[in-house]
Symmetry: none
Subunit: 259 residues, 2 copies
């Protein structure tokens, strides 16, 4: 099933260190009901498992195709956006989505061209600071202040429902304009795409090294590096811009006897 | 907890002849996370039950207050609207909602003044013809045509999420028209202000000089400088960020015999 499905197939649902195999199964089912296919498990406590299979019902194929990895970095390295669901920890440097539908529209737009990820944390403790640092955005699903704790697979269902709806509406809009003029709607040029997580990380690392060697990070409490890295993260450079920034950094740090 | 909550308390979630007590518990949890309180069970197969309590987690109070009745008629007699969820049977005489958010807006509007109900059928067979005849509307949650079968409690979660959002948006609209909205809005700290045009120009000039001297601008047609300056311009650095960028640039271009 070719073209219209590609965007949904670009959506990666990443579950980090899930405790209850039943939640993994229920998440797979939720994904399947909403046309999603890519399940990634970061160090699940117990998988494969009968309980996962039982709860998956018709989502069982997703369990069979699920990718199991050992770190979140590995799970999302090639993703253009990584949205972390977080009820507890808010990293204010990251762009925040306040509603599921905002998140879904933006993610499904990007998903036309490259993989994107939605990351769910542990049942009890959510995501760690380091894991949130892997993300490009955060989403907080608004919930009852007296009891905001959705079951993990329920949160997956709600998000999957939003993503599927956003996808349907994009394609409905496109279909409703069908006329030969729409044939050949240009795909976004690669240079205008967001960089992958890996490319961004590489730049952030080069920045850190360059500033360290230049003696600019001599006041740890000033959080200079964090602030600058946050600036570049939230500026969302395109791939082209990032490559120019990387080039500029290299040019500025080239030893003088190399020029 | 008086006036603004009444509309949510007017929403009755009705589960008809649920087979798995776990689904009742998970539904109660889903309701609680989205501020709903009124659970009604029509002839549940097994209730109360340990499995229901376990799956309910923080939704347990809803189980304790749940009303158990013997017919759907009894459950919804005083309701101003009764929306039946149906994937299978469509009664074309009933008004249909094609999306969860349409249903939620209409239901929450009515719920300001009177009880309303959302009715979920049996896990395997949904609602009977007679039960659909009890309804004033039907809702079909759009789902993957290859596998549209959401778990019962997941469907409750999705609908509860829609209802809570519709309620919040109604009340946000109202709040924004009340006067003391500015109380507690902190004044923006200076460092978070945008830089002056002069400060920005100074940075852009420093950037140009540094890159020129590093030999990075040796291909005028590549518009390297323009692209990088555009990047920094559209990134809208705060004053603080700009001062860090300026400092970093200075540190990177400091002649090596100065360190």
């Amino acid at each position: 099933m070719t073209e219209p499905r590609t965007a949904l197939d670009h959506v990666r649902i990443v579950l980090v260190q899930t405790w209850h195999p039943g939640n993994i199964g229920a998440a797979a089912r939720a994904m399947r009901t909403m046309g999603l296919t890519q399940l990634v498990l970061v160090s699940p406590r117990q998988f494969p498992d009968e309980e996962a299979t039982r709860m998956a019902a018709g989502g069982e194929p997703l369990l069979e195709q699920a990718r199991v990895v050992e770190s979140l970095e590995e799970a999302v390295a090639d993703c253009g956006a990584v949205v972390g669901l977080s009820a507890r920890l808010r990293n204010l440097a990251l762009p925040q989505f306040e509603e599921g539908d905002e998140m879904a529209r933006e993610l499904m737009s990007l998903a036309e061209d490259m993989p994107v990820a939605l990351v769910f944390g542990r049942e009890r403790s959510g995501l760690t600071n380091d894991e949130i640092a892997c993300c490009t955005h955060q989403l907080s699903l608004p919930a009852n202040p007296d009891y905001p704790i959705l079951n993990l697979s329920q949160a997956v269902q709600v998000c999957a429902h939003e993503l599927y709806r956003a996808w349907r509406h994009r394609h409905a809009d496109q279909k409703s304009r069908t006329a030969p003029a729409d044939i050949g709607m240009q795909s976004v040029r690669e240079k205008d795409l967001p960089p992958t997580r890996e490319q961004m990380q590489h730049f952030q690392q080069s920045l850190a090294t360059a500033l360290q060697e230049a003696g600019f990070l001599n006041q740890p409490h000033a959080q200079t590096l964090e602030r600058l890295q946050n600036f570049y993260q939230r500026s969302s450079p395109t791939r082209k811009e990032l490559s120019l920034l990387q080039g500029a950094l290299r040019a500025l740090t080239r030893p003088s006897d190399d020029t």
